[in-house]
Point group: C2
Chain length 202, copies 2
């Protein structure tokens, strides 16, 4: 691309470093900023700057938080005996949206992925073990809630093994046919798993 | 969405105001910034801030520029007798990429679009008329290069009428079958126009 302005080129370069945003989209966004009210650019850059400099992680569950403890860990209404282990903050938000879970979380910050150079040491697995063993017997159940991918399964398996020496029940979220899903068009792996993990009809 | 952090929520809110970016993408981008090296966020916000505060428009062609005159208007190698009128900077970049045009540009800053409340007065049409009439007879040809939409056609027609009192040739970029395009699958409007605007074989 041939830029008439060095400032525009630099802005496009920086925006295009964001995931899923190419040079063309970056140019569109930069030109949008130029056309828009300057106040918006100020608001945007301030929000991003603050996000990066002031954000912290909850010291118990490692979820993104403005304070030492996140609202979930602070809440007296949450069941402290169950901890749901997830990959990142987006998974916490997705599970919270279901309104079906009243326990606490533990955010790993990723999943084991040798291809991307992420080993167990890069995740907050050690902190999870410590959290469970230090709780005495307060934590009674660990729910593994990972995506149904090779990385997710590997991470779940690794944590399960690590926790085996502690007297805590380890469960995994159910895999099966999605609600509204057509049995006929479900892939055989999912269908097979849904038969093996069948549940009693109540 | 249920945010565990007010800072994260504010950042997502601001990012989601960008065109074509929804709340989910905004959250993905914000979490990317949190994970990334803080230096990147600084570079990004600085580039955006500078873009907005220091950018100016070329006083001749109104293209985005770091200086009073853009590199194209300054260049002694460009043909000053032809002016190509376009909607915005992206069109200048697209035409420059073809390496087929050696003249100058005039950036309108939009097209006439009553639906979006954009009338001729909101565009730099008056400045174009002035530029042509003040040039004496230096500007000999005006090329209208707009998208082939109702708005583009309306704008072209309006400028053509406005320029009719001045002794300047007004042309429009050719409409027809795209290079590599299949005649059989070309819509009838384009095909009809390509027959009416047929060119002699050389």
């Amino acid at each position: 691309m041939d830029f008439s302005s060095r400032l525009l080129e630099q802005a496009v370069e920086q925006i295009a470093k964001l995931p899923g945003i190419g040079k063309k989209t970056a140019l569109r966004l930069a030109l949008h900023l130029v056309r828009e009210n300057p106040a918006y650019t100020t608001q945007l850059t301030e929000a991003l700057g603050k996000l990066r400099s002031e954000i912290s992680l909850c010291k118990t569950c490692f979820n993104i938080s403005d304070h030492e403890l996140c609202p979930l860990c602070q809440s007296p209404r949450r069941d402290k005996s169950i901890v749901c282990v997830v990959e990142d903050t987006r998974d916490v938000m997705a599970i919270e949206n279901t309104s079906q879970y009243q326990g606490l979380y533990h955010v790993l910050g990723g999943v084991i992925s040798p291809v991307n150079g992420i080993g167990p040491g890069d995740l907050r697995i050690e902190q999870l073990i410590q959290r469970v063993s230090e709780s005495g017997s307060e934590v009674r159940e660990i729910i593994l809630a990972f995506s149904s991918t090779m990385e997710g399964d590997t991470t779940g398996f690794y944590i399960h093994k690590k926790l085996s020496s502690l007297s805590v029940k380890v469960t995994s979220i159910a895999r099966g046919i999605p609600v509204g899903g057509d049995l006929e068009f479900t892939d055989e792996l999912t269908l097979g798993r849904s038969i093996l993990s069948r549940t009693p009809v109540q």
